[in-house]
Amino acid sequence: MSTHPYLRAYLAGIFVTTLILPLILTAFIIVRLVLQLPVPIERGLIFPMALVPAAWGLWNMIWLASHSRTHLAIGLHGAIFPFLLLPIGATVAHCFGILSFGSSSATWFQAIDVPYALIVPAFCCGVAAYYLVWKYIVGGLNRVLGIAV
Protein backbone atom coordinates (compact mmCIF):
# COMPACT_ATOMS: atom_id res chain seq x y z
CA MET A 1 0.00 0.00 0.00
CA SER A 2 2.82 2.40 -0.79
CA THR A 3 1.50 3.65 -4.10
CA HIS A 4 -0.62 6.72 -4.76
CA PRO A 5 -0.81 7.98 -1.16
CA TYR A 6 -2.30 11.32 -2.21
CA LEU A 7 -5.08 9.61 -4.15
CA ARG A 8 -5.91 7.57 -1.06
CA ALA A 9 -5.78 10.72 1.08
CA TYR A 10 -8.20 12.45 -1.28
CA LEU A 11 -10.61 9.50 -1.20
CA ALA A 12 -10.47 9.34 2.59
CA GLY A 13 -11.10 13.08 2.75
CA ILE A 14 -14.20 13.10 0.57
CA PHE A 15 -15.74 10.07 2.32
CA VAL A 16 -17.76 11.94 4.95
CA THR A 17 -19.16 14.61 2.67
CA THR A 18 -20.01 12.03 0.02
CA LEU A 19 -22.10 10.19 2.60
CA ILE A 20 -23.90 13.38 3.62
CA LEU A 21 -24.68 14.53 0.06
CA PRO A 22 -27.64 12.14 -0.39
CA LEU A 23 -29.08 13.49 2.88
CA ILE A 24 -28.81 17.04 1.58
CA LEU A 25 -30.41 16.01 -1.70
CA THR A 26 -33.22 14.28 0.16
CA ALA A 27 -33.80 17.39 2.26
CA PHE A 28 -33.80 19.47 -0.92
CA ILE A 29 -36.40 17.27 -2.59
CA ILE A 30 -38.62 17.31 0.49
CA VAL A 31 -38.35 21.06 1.07
CA ARG A 32 -38.53 22.25 -2.49
CA LEU A 33 -40.51 19.68 -4.43
CA VAL A 34 -42.73 17.95 -1.86
CA LEU A 35 -43.47 20.77 0.58
CA GLN A 36 -43.00 23.38 -2.18
CA LEU A 37 -41.58 25.91 0.24
CA PRO A 38 -40.40 29.12 -1.45
CA VAL A 39 -36.81 28.70 -0.27
CA PRO A 40 -34.09 29.20 -2.93
CA ILE A 41 -32.17 26.20 -1.69
CA GLU A 42 -31.00 25.07 -5.13
CA ARG A 43 -28.77 28.15 -5.39
CA GLY A 44 -27.11 27.16 -2.16
CA LEU A 45 -26.37 23.61 -3.21
CA ILE A 46 -23.32 24.58 -5.22
CA PHE A 47 -21.13 25.08 -2.16
CA PRO A 48 -21.94 21.92 -0.19
CA MET A 49 -22.25 19.67 -3.23
CA ALA A 50 -19.51 20.86 -5.55
CA LEU A 51 -16.88 22.63 -3.50
CA VAL A 52 -16.90 21.12 -0.03
CA PRO A 53 -16.20 17.45 -0.90
CA ALA A 54 -13.26 18.37 -3.11
CA ALA A 55 -12.02 20.77 -0.43
CA TRP A 56 -12.12 17.98 2.19
CA GLY A 57 -10.10 15.72 -0.08
CA LEU A 58 -7.56 18.44 -0.78
CA TRP A 59 -7.35 19.30 2.94
CA ASN A 60 -6.51 15.68 3.74
CA MET A 61 -3.89 15.68 0.98
CA ILE A 62 -2.39 18.81 2.54
CA TRP A 63 -2.29 17.05 5.91
CA LEU A 64 -0.46 14.11 4.37
CA ALA A 65 2.02 16.38 2.60
CA SER A 66 2.71 18.57 5.63
CA HIS A 67 2.57 16.04 8.46
CA SER A 68 6.22 15.07 8.27
CA ARG A 69 7.16 18.72 8.90
CA THR A 70 4.36 19.96 11.17
CA HIS A 71 3.50 16.76 13.11
CA LEU A 72 0.05 18.29 13.56
CA ALA A 73 -2.61 15.86 14.78
CA ILE A 74 -5.28 15.25 12.18
CA GLY A 75 -8.03 16.41 14.54
CA LEU A 76 -6.37 19.80 14.95
CA HIS A 77 -5.72 19.94 11.22
CA GLY A 78 -9.44 19.41 10.64
CA ALA A 79 -10.35 22.00 13.28
CA ILE A 80 -8.43 24.64 11.31
CA PHE A 81 -10.51 23.89 8.22
CA PRO A 82 -13.68 25.86 9.24
CA PHE A 83 -11.59 29.02 9.49
CA LEU A 84 -11.02 28.60 5.75
CA LEU A 85 -14.43 27.26 4.80
CA LEU A 86 -16.56 29.80 6.66
CA PRO A 87 -15.43 32.89 4.74
CA ILE A 88 -15.51 31.04 1.41
CA GLY A 89 -18.96 29.59 2.13
CA ALA A 90 -20.28 32.92 3.36
CA THR A 91 -18.97 34.66 0.24
CA VAL A 92 -20.51 32.07 -2.07
CA ALA A 93 -23.79 32.17 -0.14
CA HIS A 94 -23.88 35.96 -0.25
CA CYS A 95 -23.13 36.01 -3.98
CA PHE A 96 -25.95 33.58 -4.69
CA GLY A 97 -28.37 35.50 -2.51
CA ILE A 98 -28.93 32.84 0.13
CA LEU A 99 -27.17 34.75 2.89
CA SER A 100 -28.17 38.26 3.78
CA PHE A 101 -27.07 40.44 6.66
CA GLY A 102 -29.60 42.36 8.73
CA SER A 103 -29.18 44.76 11.58
CA SER A 104 -29.23 42.13 14.29
CA SER A 105 -29.06 38.78 12.50
CA ALA A 106 -27.88 36.96 9.42
CA THR A 107 -30.48 35.18 7.31
CA TRP A 108 -29.78 31.95 5.44
CA PHE A 109 -32.06 30.68 2.67
CA GLN A 110 -34.35 33.70 3.28
CA ALA A 111 -35.85 31.69 6.11
CA ILE A 112 -33.34 30.95 8.88
CA ASP A 113 -32.48 33.93 11.07
CA VAL A 114 -29.37 33.48 13.19
CA PRO A 115 -28.62 36.35 15.59
CA TYR A 116 -25.10 37.68 15.42
CA ALA A 117 -24.60 36.78 19.08
CA LEU A 118 -25.23 33.15 18.18
CA ILE A 119 -22.82 33.02 15.25
CA VAL A 120 -19.67 32.86 17.38
CA PRO A 121 -20.86 29.92 19.57
CA ALA A 122 -22.23 28.24 16.45
CA PHE A 123 -18.86 28.63 14.78
CA CYS A 124 -17.15 27.17 17.87
CA CYS A 125 -19.50 24.20 17.63
CA GLY A 126 -18.57 23.85 13.97
CA VAL A 127 -14.90 23.80 14.89
CA ALA A 128 -15.59 21.14 17.53
CA ALA A 129 -17.60 19.07 15.04
CA TYR A 130 -14.82 19.28 12.49
CA TYR A 131 -12.26 18.29 15.16
CA LEU A 132 -14.24 15.18 16.08
CA VAL A 133 -15.06 14.16 12.50
CA TRP A 134 -11.49 14.57 11.32
CA LYS A 135 -10.00 12.87 14.38
CA TYR A 136 -12.22 9.81 14.39
CA ILE A 137 -13.61 9.34 10.88
CA VAL A 138 -11.03 10.80 8.51
CA GLY A 139 -8.17 9.72 10.79
CA GLY A 140 -9.64 6.22 11.02
CA LEU A 141 -9.96 6.04 7.25
CA ASN A 142 -6.38 7.22 6.87
CA ARG A 143 -5.27 4.37 9.12
CA VAL A 144 -7.37 1.86 7.18
CA LEU A 145 -5.94 3.10 3.89
CA GLY A 146 -2.40 2.97 5.25
CA ILE A 147 -1.60 6.68 5.03
CA ALA A 148 -1.66 7.56 8.72
CA VAL A 149 1.83 8.42 9.90
Binding site: V16, P48, G89, W108, F109, I112, C125, G126, A129
Partner: protein, 80 residues
Protein backbone atom coordinates in the same frame (compact mmCIF):
# COMPACT_ATOMS: atom_id res chain seq x y z
CA UNK B 1 37.69 -33.68 -2.92
CA UNK B 2 39.77 -36.28 -1.09
CA UNK B 3 39.68 -37.32 2.54
CA UNK B 4 42.29 -34.79 3.51
CA UNK B 5 40.30 -31.99 2.01
CA UNK B 6 37.17 -33.17 3.82
CA UNK B 7 38.98 -33.17 7.15
CA UNK B 8 40.33 -29.74 6.43
CA UNK B 9 36.85 -28.48 5.54
CA UNK B 10 35.38 -29.94 8.76
CA UNK B 11 38.11 -28.31 10.77
CA UNK B 12 37.49 -24.93 9.15
CA UNK B 13 33.73 -25.20 9.71
CA UNK B 14 34.24 -26.08 13.38
CA UNK B 15 36.48 -23.05 13.77
CA UNK B 16 34.00 -20.76 12.04
CA UNK B 17 30.86 -21.98 13.82
CA UNK B 18 31.01 -22.19 17.60
CA UNK B 19 29.34 -25.27 19.09
CA UNK B 20 25.73 -24.84 20.19
CA UNK B 21 25.24 -25.64 23.83
CA UNK B 22 22.37 -27.97 24.50
CA UNK B 23 21.22 -25.98 27.58
CA UNK B 24 21.84 -22.55 26.10
CA UNK B 25 19.86 -19.79 27.90
CA UNK B 26 19.66 -16.01 27.47
CA UNK B 27 21.93 -13.94 29.63
CA UNK B 28 18.99 -12.74 31.71
CA UNK B 29 15.46 -13.84 32.50
CA UNK B 30 13.13 -12.41 29.84
CA UNK B 31 9.84 -13.41 31.49
CA UNK B 32 9.59 -10.36 33.81
CA UNK B 33 9.95 -8.12 30.75
CA UNK B 34 7.10 -9.99 29.04
CA UNK B 35 4.92 -9.55 32.13
CA UNK B 36 5.75 -5.84 32.30
CA UNK B 37 4.78 -5.49 28.62
CA UNK B 38 1.49 -7.31 29.18
CA UNK B 39 0.71 -5.13 32.20
CA UNK B 40 1.53 -1.94 30.30
CA UNK B 41 -0.95 -2.56 27.45
CA UNK B 42 -4.19 -2.34 29.50
CA UNK B 43 -2.80 0.66 31.40
CA UNK B 44 -2.08 2.46 28.15
CA UNK B 45 -5.57 1.66 26.82
CA UNK B 46 -7.16 2.95 30.02
CA UNK B 47 -5.08 6.12 29.74
CA UNK B 48 -6.39 6.82 26.24
CA UNK B 49 -9.95 6.36 27.47
CA UNK B 50 -9.32 8.80 30.27
CA UNK B 51 -7.99 11.31 27.76
CA UNK B 52 -11.16 11.03 25.69
CA UNK B 53 -13.23 12.90 28.27
CA UNK B 54 -12.49 16.06 26.27
CA UNK B 55 -13.93 14.56 23.08
CA UNK B 56 -16.99 13.33 24.96
CA UNK B 57 -17.46 16.83 26.39
CA UNK B 58 -17.24 18.32 22.90
CA UNK B 59 -19.78 15.85 21.54
CA UNK B 60 -22.14 16.55 24.44
CA UNK B 61 -21.81 20.27 23.86
CA UNK B 62 -22.60 19.83 20.19
CA UNK B 63 -25.73 17.81 20.93
CA UNK B 64 -26.90 20.33 23.54
CA UNK B 65 -26.30 23.22 21.14
CA UNK B 66 -28.17 21.50 18.30
CA UNK B 67 -31.06 20.73 20.63
CA UNK B 68 -31.17 24.30 21.96
CA UNK B 69 -30.86 25.95 18.54
CA UNK B 70 -32.21 23.52 15.92
CA UNK B 71 -32.46 26.30 13.35
CA UNK B 72 -28.67 26.24 13.04
CA UNK B 73 -28.62 22.60 11.84
CA UNK B 74 -29.31 23.46 8.15
CA UNK B 75 -26.61 26.10 8.32
CA UNK B 76 -24.21 23.50 9.72
CA UNK B 77 -25.13 21.12 6.91
CA UNK B 78 -24.60 23.87 4.38
CA UNK B 79 -21.04 24.41 5.57
CA UNK B 80 -20.30 20.70 5.93
Amino acid sequence: MNAHDEDRMKQLLRQALPPVETDAEPARDLWPAVLRRLDAEPARAAGSLRQNWFDWALLTGLIVFAAAFPATIPVFLYYL
